[in-house]
Structure formats: C-alpha cells, structure tokens
Amino acid sequence: MSSAIQEQERERELGHDEFDPIGTLALIGIYFLILASMWLFMYFVEFLGNGPTVVGMI
Amino acid sequence: MRISRSGLLILIGILIPVIVELRTLFDMLGIEISVAGTLLIGVLAIGVIVFWATLPEPDDSDAA
C-alpha cells in the first residue's frame, strides 16, 4: 500500500497530546481480566486438581 | 453489502476461534457441547453474519 492511499484515507492529523488511547486501554483491560482469571483457573483447578503432586520430604 | 468482502472474510476468520474456544470455555464451566452442536452453532453464526452483510445499505453508500 502506498502512502498516497494512506494520505487519502486520513481524515485528520492527531498529535501526541490530542490523542488518548482509550480504545487501547479498554482492550488491554479486557486482556488483563482474561489473563488473571485464566491464571487462577489453570493454577487452582487444572494444576492442583491434577492428582498426586510432588511434595517435599516431610 | 454492509461491509466489504475483505471485512466479511476477517470477521468470519475471527469468529472461528471464538466458536472453537467457546466450546472449551463452556466445558470448563461444566456445559458440554458436541462437535455437531459446535458445527451447527458455527454455521448458524456465520450464516447470520453473511445474511446481515449482504443486506442492502440502510442509507448512503459506503460500498467496497
């Protein structure tokens, strides 16, 4: 894709201070929730529920 | 067309993992969906999207 096309499609020019990546924050917030819940699930359900586990010499 | 053909392709592409992982997710919650069931859900979902995508534009043109 040439930059000529990009220029055509660009509707406005945003600088650093005019741009708040709120969409990014929203997406990554969802990712955070998925990661945290999947981690808990994997550790406490899948791993600890997986039968005999190696324990220390007691 | 409501969205471009490439948009439709991407949408279907992203839908497939959602359907596949939805089945895994439901199983983790104790709800089991069979392969045929998953296929049915997938075909229905894709069908609905294709149907929606091919509806005529509601207002001014944005055709691709």
């Binding site: 708040d20 709120i22 990014t24 981690w39 550790y43 039968g51 324990v55 220390g56 010499m57 | -």
Partner: protein, 187 residues
C-alpha cells in the same frame, strides 16, 4: 520521558499481574508444600548402575510404616521396574502411602511422566531425580517417556499400580516384594 497516563496505569497493572503470578507459585511451594526436583540426591555413574547399592537392584522398598522408596532405571526404551510390555514388573505400592521415587537413566536423557498427574521429571544419566509423592487412592497410572530418546521413543511406557491398603499388606509385602527380591538375586 513522556509516558502517557494510560500507559502508566497499564505498567502498574502489568506489575501487579507479574507479582501475582510469583505470589501464587510461592504459595504453592511454601503453603502447599509442592517441591521441585532438585540436587538433593547423589550422582551416579551411568555405566556402573549394576554395582550401585540401590540401582543395582531397582524396585520397591519399604522404609517406614507407610513409606516406600522406588528405585527406577530408565533405558532405551523402558522403565525398570514399570515396563510391563518389556516383561518387567509394574511399580506396585499401597494406597495411603508416601512414596519416594529415585529415577536415573542408564543411557540417554529420558523422562518419567505419570499420565494424568503432576508427577513429571527428567531422567538424566549421572543424575538422580528424587520425587516424593503421596498416593491416597488405589488406582492405575501409565508412565511415559516425554523426552525424545531415540527411534523407539514412542514405545517407552510403564505402569504404576496403587493397591488398596489391605490387599497390599497381604499380596504386596508377601508376594510382590518377595518376588522382586528373588528376581533380583537371580539376575
């Protein structure tokens, strides 16, 4: 440096995640007593396992009231004891016991992975993996080698049988362990 406030927020969230992960693992180690395979066991000479005090006669040994030690030699392509397919005994222990496996390899790197459990260790020639496990329920487990060890790798498997406690006391000690001893003296 000019860092956007959302990015700072994410940085903090990411650090919380990372610290949370480490905390969970630490809880597993300290709170639940999940131990890692470590360097506690002595090394051995893989060429001279036959002369080794314990690995010379691999098998199950009772060392306490409910405590057992199992010495296992991994080789291309089986476990001794364990590989029933190769004509060897399965590993047999009673339920409600604490079992420490000592695993080494006589040739290449293998693994000793008990299917459907968290018992999983590498078997490295020269090194000994010591793995302590509590078997609460009777049952049968498959063992497989999960580390590529040569052209017959996919045939390398074994079996652990956890007997009900009362049956093991009769069959186990008298018959199974007895068998082991005679076998090994003959060999």
């Amino acid at each position: 440096m000019n860092i956007h406030r959302y990015e700072k927020l994410w940085l903090v969230a990411a650090l919380v995640l990372i610290v949370g992960f480490i905390a969970t693992i630490t809880y597993g180690s300290v709170g639940l007593g999940i131990a890692m395979i470590d360097d506690e066991a002595e090394t051995v000479n893989p060429e001279k396992l036959n002369e080794h005090e314990d690995f010379g006669e691999p098998g199950v040994k009772q060392v306490g009231e409910n405590e057992y030690e199992v010495y296992v030699r991994a080789w291309q392509f089986g476990f001794d004891p364990g590989s029933v397919e190769a004509g060897l005994d399965p590993i047999e222990v009673p339920a409600n016991s604490t079992v420490t496996f000592y695993i080494t390899s006589e040739d290449v790197i293998h693994s000793f992975s008990v299917v459907g459990t968290n018992i999983n260790t590498m078997a490295i020639p020269g090194e000994v993996s010591s793995v302590t496990v509590e078997f609460d329920e009777p049952g049968e487990y498959g063992i497989l080698c999960a580390e590529y060890c040569g052209a017959g790798h996919h045939t390398m498997e074994g079996k652990i049988i956890v007997h009900p406690e009362d049956e093991y006391a009769i069959n186990g000690t008298d018959v199974e362990t007895g068998n082991d001893t005679t076998d090994e003296t003959e060999a």
